[in-house]
Symmetry: C3
Subunit: 346 residues, 3 copies
């Protein structure tokens, strides 16, 4: 791969020999001649001087005379990943075509250039868009529609009547469209409420492994365009996750709650049902959200508070054992003062 | 569907035209002529006046003159779901018969009217009761017994020697009967303790998606009749979940702990091993249970306390930063008072 | 099974009749003639006198005249499990041979005496070591290498280019090698960072059910020799779990964090990314780790602190509501004292 190809791939500008070429990549310390590397942070500039790499991806504002070929790019770290991906197609080989052991119902509509792995099962009236890849052991329920260029990894389950947009990625073990957790209790016994809605995953969403996204009671549970969902997340029935929101691992969101755009829920956050979280809210790890959050900003704690307040309380708690001792001392001193006063009075 | 059929289905009483009929349903605002809708809450009574629906499901104590057909029923919201389910059989079509690509061991005993999906695997000496449905990709281990009218969704794993009652529902990705987490440590190295027990799921239990219920070391891990388990729940070896208990998403229950009847563990609650939780205990979301709970009631916090105490402590914590300032001020004032006294003494 | 066979199995010493034999086992109360039982704890010694068991496994320092046959052994409880396992081979029957419905790519290398269950899928260039058992519905990605004597349960997913050591056990629903959660955000939109690394599971590791272990961005996510991972655990990209560490259910560990040897993370602990936890650290259930822990010891709380400090703070918090009242009373008293002084001054 030569500098021109790389510059095109990463939308970068070459400074130096345009014909410089590389065959692999490595970290800035480990890189050798014939390698590409990257400088993401100016604190590593000394390493830039000593690296043996032939091509270095650098930030756009980087300027230094060098005999190496530089490629100026917006995000050198990300660009390096893109180059490595291009250099190593063997790392990401997907299945091709419909495997002889795939089980595709005759009424399913399968687009062009679709891959379906062994023992994947596509039920009646399902529709799979062009260029979509469904790995071995995945299950697509009846009447479910999968978009184009979608990537569904092994042992994913997507139940009936769901809708998955274009360029969605769903990792292994994830279950989309299982029944919401709904029942009525009569005389202490629970009767299941039928869950007749579905799940809509919009375009460009990525969903991690072993995630549970339940179908709505009626209507739809919705994951909006561009949202990123990490592993082992619980999304209950009728939840709506806003555009480009980020839901980190082991978060749980209860029924009918609605997240705005660009919301970030850090690891293990829990959110009760039937509330709204405004756009651009960030909730710190392990936070517990019990009420609407109407203002953007950072929140933390159980229950969540503005992050400064929570930090103040946590710091105060550390001082509490000493403060309790101090209070006891003050009590004594006041008692002595009282006696003193009384003495004075006599 | 006419009013009489609906009244029979929901065990309701018709007020108005018994021959009124509908073809679909909708919310009270959206409903049109030819629709059924419901009024669950008297605060929406104004909408009752304006709805175009032909039939309205209303609470049993609802009384109002109307040209619409009313059906009085115990739980209008639940009844509406039942009607919608009946109106839309296409939403819940299950597989029928044993698929040609199912893999059923010749020694397995399969009841009447059983459905087994493609690539489901039934091992030796397993028994499947009448009318049970096992979806594609599910796994039933050797010598496991599944009851009647059970619903096992795609990619469920039930290991060997387990027992599943009648009318149980198990959602995708759930694993029943994996080995308990047990080992002895010798010189810093862990040796596995064989997990030779099993799991018993009694009748009428529903288990969500991606749940883990481990087999016992000896004896049985037990989920009693009518319990409801949500998604991503961890139930360790030798745990017993009492009748009609509710275990919400992402709860974790450690080994040999026993829950009474009608216990509710809200989302993300954690319970240590080898303790007992009494009947009718409710633990609030994110609570941490470290000791037996012997009295029914509501508990919250980490570790859990009676809910009022926990709320008092949380409220007090909010005032703590100010209280610390106040203590410093009191200290100063006392010092000044002392000086005053000393002055007085001279 | 006679006493000699048992002594050999549990590395024990016989006291009594070497030809004594048993056909089954039971708890010390329930055991009958012809049974083996065990005495793990001297507080049950009275039961030893009354048990009808023919052979009793006892601690090495146990001494008592008896007509029963004793076998002295290091860990009687563990030894009893080993004996029961030997007595009941029917409890742990694994599949044998490659099932006709297994799907093994022609380029995969399958060792001697390997079992592969129905609908398991082994992709191109994968390698499976001797005596390894892969259950039904499991997925092994291309170029992944599985060691010898490995046990992979149904519906496990191991993605491409991963490496699994010898004697590893992986329970159902677990996903190894899904993409790490990595993206760059430009103008509010997220672009996926390719995850080109892999996962290395070293020898003698056991991994529970429904666990997610993500592949590294580059390099490897590593689970070192002898580590024990419970169910529903999240291990993000580039994490390293040290030798013989124990990670309990529902723990979450964020990207690039490194655990030392013999670390114990109790249930539901959360650990942020890019930190190090020293050897022999124990973090209590539900703890939140936000910074490096450099000293061995016990830690607890959110954020974690040395366990004594956390317990002191939790105890202090319980007294806080009363302390706040006391502060208000002290304020009043001081005000009165001041008035007294002022009076004195006049």
């Amino acid at each position: 791969m030569d500098a021109r190809e790389i510059a095109r791939l990463v939308d970068g500008t070459i400074v130096g020999d345009e014909t410089a070429s590389i065959s692999d990549g490595a970290g800035i310390k480990e890189a050798d001649s014939g390698h590409i590397t990257f400088l993401a942070n100016t604190k590593y500039t000394p390493l830039f001087e000593s690296t043996k790499a032939s091509i270095v991806l650098v930030p756009e504002d980087f300027f230094r005379r060098s005999d190496k070929t530089l490629i100026l790019t917006k995000d050198p770290s990300y660009s390096f990943s893109r180059v490595m991906e291009a250099l190593h197609p063997e790392l990401q080989i997907h299945p091709q075509g419909v495997h002889a052991n795939a089980v595709v119902h005759e009424s399913a509509v399968v687009g062009d250039n679709v891959a379906i792995g062994a023992c994947a099962v596509i039920e009646a009236n399902a529709a799979i868009g062009n260029n979509t890849i469904i790995y071995a052991g995945a299950y697509i329920g009846h009447n479910t529609r999968i978009g184009k260029n979608v990537l569904i990894y092994p042992n994913v389950t997507i139940r009936e009547w769901c809708e998955i947009g274009d360029r969605v990625i769903i990792h292994s073990g994830t279950v989309i469209g299982a029944d919401g957790f709904g029942f009525v209790t009569e005389n202490g016994q629970h009767k299941k409420i039928p869950q007749l809605g579905s799940v809509l995953i919009e375009d460009d969403v990525e969903i991690g492994s072993n995630v549970s996204i339940d179908r709505a009671r009626f209507d739809k549970t919705i994951i909006r365009k561009g949202a990123m969902i990490d592993n082992l997340v619980q999304i209950a029935h009728n939840v709506i996750i806003g555009e480009n929101s980020i839901v980190v691992s082991q978060v749980g969101i209860s029924g009918s709650t609605e997240l705005g755009k660009n919301v970030v829920l850090a690891g293990k956050v829990g959110v009760v049902g039937h509330i709204k979280i405004a756009d651009n809210v960030v909730v710190g790890a392990k936070g517990g959200v019990r009420k609407d959050i109407t203002e953007p900003g950072q929140y933390w704690g159980v229950p969540v508070k503005p992050i400064r307040q929570d930090m103040k309380e946590k710091a105060a708690l550390q001082k509490l054992p000493d403060a309790l001792k101090k209070i006891r001392r003050l009590e004594k001193e006041i008692n002595e003062l009282k006696k003193g006063l009384v003495k004075d009075d006599t």
